[in-house]
Symmetry: C2
Subunit: 220 residues, 2 copies
C-alpha cells in the first residue's frame, strides 16, 4: 500500500538535521504504533504544559486520553503531540558528535473533545487496544457513567513531522578516526516482562494468552 | 541526606490523581537520573512545540541540549520539561480502571541560554556524563569552535511536579473482582544491548569497560 506523503507546512518543515526528516506517512504510523504514551503539549495562560498521556489511532486521527490538560482545551486550542522512541546512544570519537538514535513523531493541530457517544466508545476501544491488544473484549466494557467520566480528545494526523536517526556515528571517516578510540552504538530496547498478578486475585485465575504471550517480547 | 520538599505552586500543585503526586526532591532526582531524554515544551507564536532532547543536571539545575526550540528561546521564555518512564501496563478487570505504571517529572521555569564558556563546558560535561558515563574523559573534548556551535540551556529544578504510580490495579476489592477475570501488571523495562561497533572502526579496537559493562543492564 502506498500512502500520500506528509505535507510540508510551516510547522512540519525540517529546518535542522534535515537528513533525519521523513515525509513518509508509513513511518509516522509505525512510530505511533510502536508506543502508547505520548507527550501532549498545550498552552495554558501563555505557558507551555507537557503532559504524558496514552493514545490510540485510526487512519487519520489520534485519540488521546483526557488529562489535566483537557481542562485547558476549549475548541480549537492548538496542541502538539510528540511520540519518541530512544533506540540507542551514538558514541562517537568526539563529544561533539555524540547523539541518540531515535524515532520521533510530532503532530500539530487542534484537539477536539470527542462528545458523540459512538465515537467516544470507538476511540476508547482504539486507545485500549493500542496499549493492550485483546483487553477491549476481555475486560468489562465501560458503562454509561464511566464513559461520561472519561475525556477523550481527537487530533488529525494530517500535520505531522517525523524524524529518524539510525546507525553509526558520523565521524568515522573524519580526522578523529585516527584517535584510535572505540566508537559505535549502545542500543536501548524496551522489553515486556512476565505478567505480575494482582495480589488480590484468586491464585487459580489463568493469565489470558493475549497477555502472557507479550512477556519477553520487544516493545517499541 | 534529607532534602527540602518541593514547593507547591500554582503550576506544580497536584489537582488530579493527587495520591500519585510526590513532593520529595529525591524522587525528582531519581526520575531525572533514570533517563537522558526529556520532552521540552515551548510556546512559539502562540502554539505549543514539544521537542525531545537530551539533558543532564546538577543539584539545582537541568542542562538541556539546544534544539529547534532554542531559536524561540529568548531570555525569560517559559518552558516545561517533562521526563516520563513507563514501567508497565495496569490491566484491570474493567476497561475504565486500566492505566499505566509510570514515573514522571514536570519542571516549569524560564530556560536560560548558557553563555559563560566555563559553565557551558561544565553543563556539556554533565549532559554527556548523564547519558554516557565515562565518555567525557574518553572521547575527544569539544574544541572552541564546537563549543560555540552548541546551544546549551539551563533550567532551575525549583518548580517541579512529580507523579508516580506503582502496583496492582485499583479494582481488586470492588464488585468487578467477582467477574473472575485475570488482572495485574504487564511490566515494561528498558534494557541496554551489547555495544555495536562502528563498521568503519578497525576490528581490533577494544570496547572500553565503561561502555561494555552497561550491555544487558537495565536502564530507567
Amino acid at each position: 500500500m502506498t500512502l500520500d506523503p506528509l505535507p510540508e507546512t510551516d510547522l512540519t518543515r525540517h529546518r535542522r538535521l534535515r537528513d533525519q526528516g521523513s515525509l513518509d506517512r508509513a513511518d509516522l504510523h509505525a512510530i505511533l504504533d510502536a508506543g502508547f504514551v505520548c507527550h501532549l503539549g498545550v498552552v495554558v495562560e501563555g505557558r507551555p504544559l507537557v503532559v504524558p498521556t496514552v493514545y490510540g489511532r485510526d487512519e487519520g486521527q489520534l485519540y488521546l486520553h483526557g488529562s489535566v490538560a483537557s481542562r485547558s482545551l476549549a475548541g480549537g486550542t492548538p496542541v502538539c503531540v510528540t511520540v519518541t522512541h530512544v533506540d540507542g546512544l551514538v558514541l562517537a570519537r568526539s563529544v561533539f558528535e555524540h547523539g541518540v538514535n531515535y524515532r520521533s513523531a510530532m503532530i500539530h493541530g487542534e484537539a477536539r473533545k470527542v462528545t458523540d457517544p459512538e465515537e467516544r466508545l470507538e476511540g476508547l476501544r482504539r486507545l485500549t487496544e493500542h496499549a493492550a491488544p485483546g483487553q477491549w473484549s476481555y475486560a468489562r466494557s465501560p458503562n454509561r457513567k464511566e464513559l461520561a467520566a472519561t475525556t477523550l480528545l481527537a487530533l488529525s494526523l494530517e500535520e505531522a513531522s517525523v524524524k529518524i536517526r539510525t546507525g553509526a556515528p558520523d565521524d568515522g571517516d573524519g580526522p578523529d578516526a585516527e584517535l584510535g578510540l572505540w566508537a559505535g552504538v549502545l542500543p536501548l530496547a524496551s522489553v515486556w516482562g512476565a505478567p505480575v498478578a494482582d495480589p488480590l486475585l484468586p491464585p487459580e485465575t489463568p493469565v489470558p494468552a493475549h497477555i502472557s504471550r507479550r512477556g519477553g517480547t520487544r516493545h517499541g
